[in-house]
């Protein structure tokens, strides 16, 4: 019990500090120099941030879409066919989940350089689909664990073509898994730094990249404010999705 409390305290400690510092008018957060909303103002008036945010959302949405399609397809194939091909398939899907980001980052960078592809939003898009695919596949595959295959046979028995059976029976069943996988993919994409850093071009900034550059070169205090906003935003998203989930029941 004490372990749990200690761990939770450990988890939230730095966050509390950050929230506090976001209101601290001291530039480097060494000591309290008075309450201010200055950093928040700076945050909202920074055009670069909005540009980065737009890129981030664009990429997250598009990569999630493609990852969901590929990942769901993968989960179906892994579920239905159990052959040697699938063993290889399974390994290929699972490996990205356990490998360090940096490997995927550098390997994709080399790949694009070797093919002389310009680095930019497109390469970031491809990278994000690549790592999200496995996550979506895993989540949707989990949904297949309790799946009763005979409902598909029942649909066919009642006159449905494969196409109709998939649309009217399979997809509705998988929807919670697909939604969860999509949400996961979206979050991972929003959040990704290392891989994006490796495959991005001079003109393609995402929010995490921008945050990093601010950390390195800019005013660190604004980041505090940004952090608070992001924390709030995450919280709202989580609470509302929980409410939505409960509402459905």
């Amino acid at each position: 019990m004490y372990a749990t409390a200690a761990v939770l305290f450990f988890f939230y400690l730095p966050i509390i500090i950050v929230i506090g510092q976001s209101f601290n008018s001291s530039r480097f957060g060494g000591s309290w120099k008075g309450f201010t909303l200055n950093w928040y103002v700076k945050l909202f008036t920074d055009r670069n941030i909005w540009h980065a945010l737009t890129n981030t959302l664009l990429i997250a949405a598009s990569s999630t879409l493609l990852a969901v399609i590929l990942g769901t397809l993968a989960a179906w194939v892994l579920y239905k066919y159990k052959s040697r091909i699938q063993v290889a398939h399974n390994v290929i899907i699972y490996l990205p989940l356990v490998l360090p980001d940096i490997l995927m980052g550098i390997s994709l960078l080399l790949f694009f350089v070797a093919l002389k592809v310009t680095l930019g939003l497109f390469t970031i898009f491809i990278a994000h689909v690549t790592f999200s695919l496995s996550y979506v596949a895993m989540v949707v595959y989990g949904r297949f664990q309790d799946f009763d295959y005979s409902i598909l046979e029942a649909a066919r028995d009642l006159g449905a073509t494969w196409n109709q059976a998939v649309r009217k029976v399979l997809i509705p069943y998988l929807l919670p898994g697909i939604a969860a996988g999509g949400l996961l993919a979206f979050t991972l994409s929003l959040d990704d730094f290392v891989i994006t850093f490796f495959v991005s071009g001079p003109d393609s900034t995402t929010l995490p990249l921008y945050i990093y550059s601010m950390m390195r070169h800019g005013s660190p205090a604004v980041i505090n404010a940004l952090s608070v906003i992001l924390v709030l935003f995450t919280f709202i998203v989580v609470i509302s999705s929980k409410k939505l989930g409960e509402g459905k029941k």
């Binding site: 046979e153 649909a155 028995d157 009217k168 029976v169």
Partner: protein, 407 residues
């Protein structure tokens, strides 16, 4: 009546396991026809071939003159009631039943009329908007049946539909199924491992074992005139005897059964002197008495000792020791038993039976003796009416032993 559904030489293997071996069956229109057999006998595979979920390696399936062997399941005029119902979890009871009709793009008002009438048939009108996970097993079963029947198939396939229900519900559903069949008049092809289901419901039964049809006939034919030792032992209970023909006096013959006695048996099999025959005599065909019965023509009798007794209320099962044989005998209590002197262990008794009660088997296999109940292994059935120890689990799902591979 024309041959409505014909299986012509159907064979199927999964890997190295031959699940169906040259199966030939003819089913008449309007019948309730059962495929009865233990797990792994191939009955579910045969059903799935009829539904279109498997294709036979050889042979044909012919429905009303049309060869449907290679036809896709959604193009057949055949509907299935699945063992675990397979109701669509995201659709309500109403929408589940309406599913097939919606696919055919039938006018919604017409759909409503038909679904409502079927809801009435299965007595679930008030549950139309419920989701499947809120239904009980019996209700799900009825929805599955309605969903299949509403499409007016030529033949309805039922895959062990009552296997997952408890006893009382099963008995009620049997009656319901029978009523529905009478109402709707569609041919049923019913798969089960439960003989009481098959016997009580069917117009005809095919008994299957190891991919082969052992016998086809009405329930009475199957019970009273089993063709093989498997059928005799799988359905109900029986006693097997082995004997040599000593003399033939049509239509009876005299057999010498080693270690037992001379037995006169009804002969419908065209046997000759010197041949070896196998007899099946059901336990209820014996009369058990303390005193020697009168010697009359065609009556066989033998002396023995009571070795085991199981009192079951309206009948008693005895095992009588006669030399090497342990003979199972059932005696109905058709009078007030408290006034009777009850037999007890060790009592000397006489067994007698008419020659007509012995039945000669066409095929005998020693290993089928394993299906018989002997005293140590007696497992009393819940209903008290079925005494054969089921060598299968009652909730066997879709013939797991039939090495099903996904299509």
């Amino acid at each position: 009546m024309s041959d409505f559904l014909v299986f012509d030489g159907v064979s199927k293997s999964f890997g190295s396991v031959k699940v169906l071996d040259n199966v030939c069956l003819t089913i008449k229109k309007g019948d309730i026809f059962s495929l009865l057999g233990p797990s792994g006998c191939g009955k579910t595979t045969l059903l799935r071939i009829c539904a279109g979920f498997e294709e036979p390696d050889s042979g044909r399936v012919i429905l009303e003159g049309h060869d449907i062997t290679r036809l896709a399941p959604n193009r057949r005029s055949v509907n299935t009631v699945f063992q675990n119902y397979a109701l669509f979890p995201n659709l309500s009871v109403y929408e589940n039943i309406a599913f097939g009709l919606r696919l055919k793009k039938i006018d919604p008002r017409q759909i409503r009329r038909e679904v409502d009438s079927f809801l009435e048939l299965i007595q679930l009108t008030d549950h139309a908007d419920k989701m499947p996970d809120k239904l009980s097993g019996g209700q799900k079963q009825r929805v599955a049946i309605a969903r299949a029947l509403i499409n007016k198939p030529e033949i309805l396939l039922l895959d062990e539909p009552l296997a997952a229900l408890d006893l009382k519900l099963r008995q009620r559903m049997l009656v319901d199924l029978d009523n529905i069949h009478d109402e709707v008049g569609i041919t049923f092809l019913y798969v089960t491992h439960d003989q009481s289901e098959a016997m009580s419901l069917s117009d005809e039964i095919a008994v299957m074992n190891n991919g082969v049809i052992e016998q086809t006939g009405t329930p009475t034919q199957i019970y009273e005139a089993p063709r093989t030792s498997f059928v005799a032992a799988f359905i109900g209970d029986t006693n097997f005897f082995e004997g040599d023909v000593v003399s033939v006096k049509e239509p009876y013959s005299m057999l010498n059964v080693d270690g037992f006695t001379s037995v006169e048996a009804y002969n419908d099999k065209m046997i000759k002197t010197g041949e070896r025959v196998y007899l099946s005599i059901r336990p209820e065909k014996f009369t058990i008495t303390i005193n020697r019965p009168e010697t009359t023509e065609r009556t066989n009798m033998v002396q023995g000792t009571v070795e085991e007794i199981i009192y079951m209320g309206y009948h008693t099962k005895y095992w009588i020791r006669v030399n090497e044989y342990l003979i199972s005998v059932k005696r109905m209590h058709d009078r007030y038993m408290l006034d009777e002197k009850m037999l007890t262990w060790g009592d000397p008794v006489w067994l007698s039976w008419h020659a007509d009660y012995c039945y000669m088997l066409e095929q005998y296999n020693l290993r089928d003796e394993a299906l018989l109940t002997i005293p140590d292994e007696e497992i009393p059935d819940e209903s008290g009416s079925n005494d054969t120890a089921d060598e299968t689990d009652s909730n066997d799902t879709q013939g797991a032993d039939e090495a099903e591979a996904r299509p």
